[in-house]
């Protein structure tokens, strides 16, 4: 991850040993270096643990596995309130949006969520280091779609 002077972060969340749960991490790694001046971070973290990582950024793009978005496994949803995303609503202290407020209340500079990308994974919770066939097949299209959407958003920021 580059220095925080860039002020824009693409943050992938998930668990790399829980198969499809880690799709956000994989996609974020694929986006590394694609956008000038934009940092990327793939983290198996949630809640309070993210506070000091987010502090100092102006905008953050989130990429996370999701369930219950109404889509098929591998389908991309841009979710304005983050609902369905698996690691934004952890029990470890605070949900993502409250965390941003907490940081601000503490006097920290916290980023605005530029977009929250949720990738539907159904009910997959098995241990594994590779994606299920459905997610594996969808990966190139997901990368293209998220890249395009981030480019659009960056132009407007």
């Amino acid at each position: 991850m580059a220095g925080k002077e860039n002020r824009i972060l693409i943050l992938g969340l998930g668990n790399p040993i829980l198969s499809d749960d880690g799709v956000g991490l994989l996609l974020t790694e694929k986006l590394e270096g694609k956008f000038s001046g934009v940092d990327t971070a793939s983290l198996t973290l949630a809640g309070m643990e993210l506070l000091d990582i987010l502090a100092g950024y102006d905008h953050v793009f989130l990429i996370d596995a999701a369930t219950g978005t109404g889509g098929e496994p591998g389908e991309l949803k841009e979710i304005s309130d983050g609902k369905g995303a698996l690691h934004l609503f952890t029990s470890h202290g605070a949900n993502f949006f409250d965390l941003l407020k907490l940081g601000r209340d503490m006097g920290l500079k916290m980023p605005e969520p530029a977009a929250v990308f949720g990738i539907e994974i159904g009910n997959a919770t098995d241990f594994g280091t590779v994606l299920s066939p459905a997610l594996l097949l969808a990966l190139p299209a997901l990368e293209t779609a998220i890249t395009s959407r981030i480019e659009q958003k960056l132009t407007a920021l």
Binding site: N15, P16, I17, L18, L43, T44, L45, A46, G47, M48, E49, L51, D52, A55, L86, H87, F89, T90, S91, H92, G93, A94, N95, D98, L99, K101, L102, D105, M106, G107, L108, T125, D126, F127, G128
Partner: protein, 488 residues
């Protein structure tokens, strides 16, 4: 009519747990269980993999204490590959592990525990969180916690490439050492960490010990549990985090056992009960005596208070002074006051900081001799560390090519699972009367298990309105008669 109350915090990364409280016909608590539903099959998932992958895999088991699993795996790899880390590598590992202690213990104390003691156990849940703590202590406290954690994470990142999820653990060494230039910022971080540790203890003394109501709570019989205690100790029987012998004391403080971690299976038994997926650990030589305390128990506890109970003292001078004061207030060793875990946690963080000051001044820190690569696969390794939540064992066995054939983990929360059930029951018996439980009293039951800092403790101090808690009350026939939910 017997009724059942269920407190069910929900999580994903750290597992899924709930508390069930059974009421008798009079509405008093008859029994209570702390249940955990784990993701199953992790050990099976590991088998067939090259053992050196474990240092990258195990930090993902838990979103809360990745460094502890990483270090236990690294130490197990030392044994599997038949190598001792060089003295400099060992020193650097200790530096990293102390840094982890500091960042870990403060997020628990300030964000998860302090709301109960600084804002108050009966305070409005909307205020009983870190913002409430900030309101009482001042805005700078939150920023100080963030800053000290960030600085210590920089140490972890420097050594193992990625923080707070390190993944660079090597058998026989560390991937990266320190220069004399680096020593300056390491020393500065250690100095600041000692100052912060003393500041944190002062807050505890002023705001917790200075309030009779809170002292009464800490010393309340409802929060006492007489068990055996287990912890790592160093050669001088002092508190140690990175390495040592496993020592066990009886409920009245006598040494019961002291053994090399590789012999853990001779001393620790695992018991299966139908109501939990956690295998309940106990002292094997005593056999499984159920969920009992006192002379008949075979249960032991781990975590900060256990460390201070088991050891003859602290490794560092200021921490020793603070430990002496704590036992003076609690009436001597061993102390059975579950809520004193929070106090002991601050003292452990102080030792970690003081120890890092010593390491920062050690000439060996900048040695280039940080890898011992004379590998000879032995086929077995047991890595043991005193994790922030208690003694942690990773046991791996491999074939002659280093492919895993067996993996067994005993984690801190597993060691404490039986006692947590009992602590919850005692608190519930004291504070729950009938199904119409007020939120503050429910919180006082949760405080009994939050003190252990199990990963689920994180479930209980979310910000306003978001605490995932479900209370179900059922009659003796199992029919739901009342549901209380928040943030589910």
């Amino acid at each position: 009519m017997a009724e059942r109350i269920t407190i069910s915090p929900i999580t994903r990364l750290e597992g899924h747990g709930k508390i069930e409280i059974f009421l008798n016909d009079k509405g008093d608590v008859e029994d209570a269980y702390w249940q955990v539903v784990e993701l199953r099959g992790f050990e099976r998932f590991c088998i067939g993999r090259p053992v050196e992958e474990m240092t990258r895999i195990v930090p993902n088991i838990c979103g809360v204490c990745p460094s502890a699993h990483h270090m236990a795996a690294t130490k197990a790899l030392d044994q599997v590959f038949g190598v001792e880390p060089t003295p400099a590598a060992r020193l650097i590992r200790e530096l990293e592990f102390n840094a982890f202690y500091i960042e870990d213990h403060y997020i628990h104390f300030f964000f998860l525990a302090a709301p109960d003691f600084i804002v108050g156990p009966h305070a409005d849940p909307k205020e009983r969180n870190i913002l409430g703590v900030i309101g009482k202590v001042g805005n700078e406290i939150g920023l100080k916690v963030i800053d000290i954690r960030k600085r210590n994470r920089d140490i972890i990142r420097h050594i193992f490439s990625k923080a707070p999820h390190p993944e660079g653990g090597l058998p026989g060494g560390v991937p990266r050492g320190f220069t004399e230039e680096d020593r300056k910022w390491v020393k500065e971080t250690a100095d600041m960490s000692v100052d912060f540790a003393q500041f944190a203890i002062k807050i505890f003394k002023d705001l917790v010990l200075g309030n009779k109501e809170y002292v009464d709570l800490i010393t309340n019989e409802a929060y006492k549990l007489k068990t055996y205690y287990m912890s790592l100790v160093d050669d001088d029987n002092k508190v140690t985090f990175y390495d040592g012998k496993v020592k066990v004391i009886t409920p009245d403080g006598k040494e019961f056992a002291k053994f090399d971690p590789i012999d853990y299976a001779d001393h620790i038994g695992e018991w299966v009960e139908p109501w939990t997926y956690i295998r309940l650990t106990h002292l094997k030589k005593l056999g499984w005596n159920g969920l009992t305390e006192g002379d008949k128990t075979s249960l032991y506890r781990v975590a900060p208070l256990a460390r201070l109970n088991v050891a003859d003292g602290m490794k560092t001078p200021i921490a020793q002074k603070e430990a002496d004061f704590m036992f003076e207030v609690l009436g001597g060793k061993p102390a059975h006051n579950t809520l004193a875990m929070h106090w002991a946690r601050l003292i452990c963080a102080l030792q970690a900081a003081e120890h890092n000051q010593m390491i920062a001044n050690d000439p060996l820190l900048t040695s280039k001799d940080i890898k011992n690569m004379n590998f000879k696969i032995t086929g077995k390794g047991v890595g043991c560390v005193e994790a922030p939540r208690g003694t942690l064992f990773h046991h791996y066995e491999t074939d002659e090519k280093g492919i895993l054939t067996k993996a067994n983990l005993i984690v801190a929360t597993q060691n404490n699972a039986g006692p947590i059930c009992m602590s919850v029951k005692k608190a519930a018996q004291a504070f729950v009367k009938g199904p119409d439980v007020k939120e503050g009293f429910l919180n006082m039951v949760e405080m009994a298990f939050r003190a252990y800092d199990p990963c689920l403790s994180c479930a209980t101090h979310a910000l306003p309105g978001e605490m995932p808690l479900s209370v179900s009350i059922r009659d003796s026939k199992g029919e739901l008669i009342r549901v209380i939910e928040r943030g589910v």
